[in-house]
């Protein structure tokens, strides 16, 4: 998977490195600001109220 992505990035090496960094940053941002906030209430870690 990672190898496949790397092979499909266009341009010379330094451009590929920049693209890879941007990709990783984008995925981390997506997780941090969309996926995790959505998933967190569904997980049994942080309920603080009594019923």
């Amino acid at each position: 998977m990672y190898g496949w992505i790397w092979r499909h990035l266009p341009g010379p090496l330094f451009l590929r490195i920049i693209q890879a960094v941007v990709l990783v940053a984008g995925i981390v941002a997506l997780l941090m600001f969309v996926v995790f906030p959505w998933a967190e209430p569904k997980l049994p870690f942080n309920n603080v109220t009594t019923e």
């Binding site: 998977m1 995790f36 049994p44 942080n46 309920n47 109220t49 009594t50």
Partner: protein
């Protein structure tokens, strides 16, 4: 691999005497070949294509997926413990700013002369209405308390259980707060000792609550030298001062998440019919327990010992404790 298996069959040959000479020749032949750089280059490239079989791809993909999932889980821990702190800090700041401007702009109605007859606060869900301080946690421990205890409210800061008493009222002023992440206001709640002050400030009044004696201190409280300390003035096991209805109300307890009775006007006595004027003025804090889990709830009960009217430049002496 089948490619490797092919050259093996010739091995039995040495059994045949005349062929004994031949392996030597092969050795020399091989050495010459391996010294040749070009031959090496070809050798490096060639084995690559056949091993990229479907099985190899599948195994590699599976391994990469596992590594990726591990990274995502690690990232989630970072999110939960650090990133939510940053997001909540901003919300808490906004709520505090809104509260400050509200308190600053309104004409402060002087607190009623009889503290028992204070006016009710107008609580709006999601809006901060009071500030909370725990001096033993340090000067920087202060949070604006919002109305409501849904996830959204608790992201902003500690949340007041709707329908429980207001600060200073008879009954049980109950607050929930996160223990891990989201500002973690109640991270150290387990460290509170009996008689530690919890100060709540509204627009017009300061209320000083003190943590009740712990379960193991209740029996020997009267003879405990601690009870003579000035900080413990007004603090005594509730069962001795207010009767058996309060027997289960001690400084700290750990309960199941379903035990909502800890925030009842008289904790653990949901059906008790004690008139409000006979009820103690309690403060109850709830958070998750143990840390990083929601299996149980950590509960801290405190009782109001003092109140002061808000005045310019006045800070309750209890604020410098700790």
């Amino acid at each position: 691999m089948p490619a490797q298996g092919m050259p093996r069959p010739p091995r039995p040959r040495p059994v045949d005497p005349p062929t004994e000479v031949i392996p030597r020749v092969e050795d020399d032949y091989d050495d010459e070949y391996y010294d040749d750089d070009e031959y090496y280059d070809g050798e490096d490239d060639k084995p690559a294509p056949p091993p990229d079989s479907f099985a190899r791809k599948a195994v590699r993909g599976f391994g990469e997926a596992l590594i990726t999932m591990g990274l995502v889980v690690l990232l989630f821990v970072v999110y939960e413990v650090y990133v939510t702190d940053l997001l909540s800090a901003e919300k808490q700041q906004e709520a505090t700013a809104a509260l400050d401007s509200e308190w600053g702009s309104n004409v402060v109605t002087p607190p009623p002369s009889d503290p028992n007859r204070q006016t009710k606060l107008n609580l709006i869900e999601g809006k901060a209405f009071a500030k909370m301080y725990i001096p033993v946690f340090g000067n920087d421990w202060k949070f604006s308390v919002v109305e409501g205890t849904t996830d959204k409210h608790l992201e902003i800061g500690p949340g007041h259980y709707k329908d429980t008493a207001q600060p200073g009222e008879p009954g049980n002023f109950s607050i929930a707060g996160h223990r891990v992440g989201k500002g973690a206001p109640f991270n150290d709640l387990d460290l509170l000792q009996s008689c530690n002050a919890i100060v709540v400030q509204t627009q017009t009044q300061w209320f000083v609550y003190r943590v009740l004696p712990m379960r193991n201190e209740v029996a020997g409280w009267a003879s405990d030298p601690k009870s003579k300390q000035p900080a413990c003035a007004g603090v005594a096991p509730l069962s001795t001062t207010l009767g058996d209805a309060y027997a289960k109300t001690v400084g700290q307890e750990i309960v199941a998440p379903t035990q909502g009775e800890v925030i009842a006007p008289i904790p653990h006595q949901v059906n008790a019919t004690v008139p409000p004027d006979k009820q103690a003025r309690l403060l109850t804090l709830t958070t998750c327990h143990p840390r990083f889990s929601d299996k149980q709830r950590l509960i801290v009960h405190a009782i109001e010992t003092k109140s002061y009217p808000v005045a310019d430049g006045f800070v309750p002496p209890e604020m410098t404790e700790g």
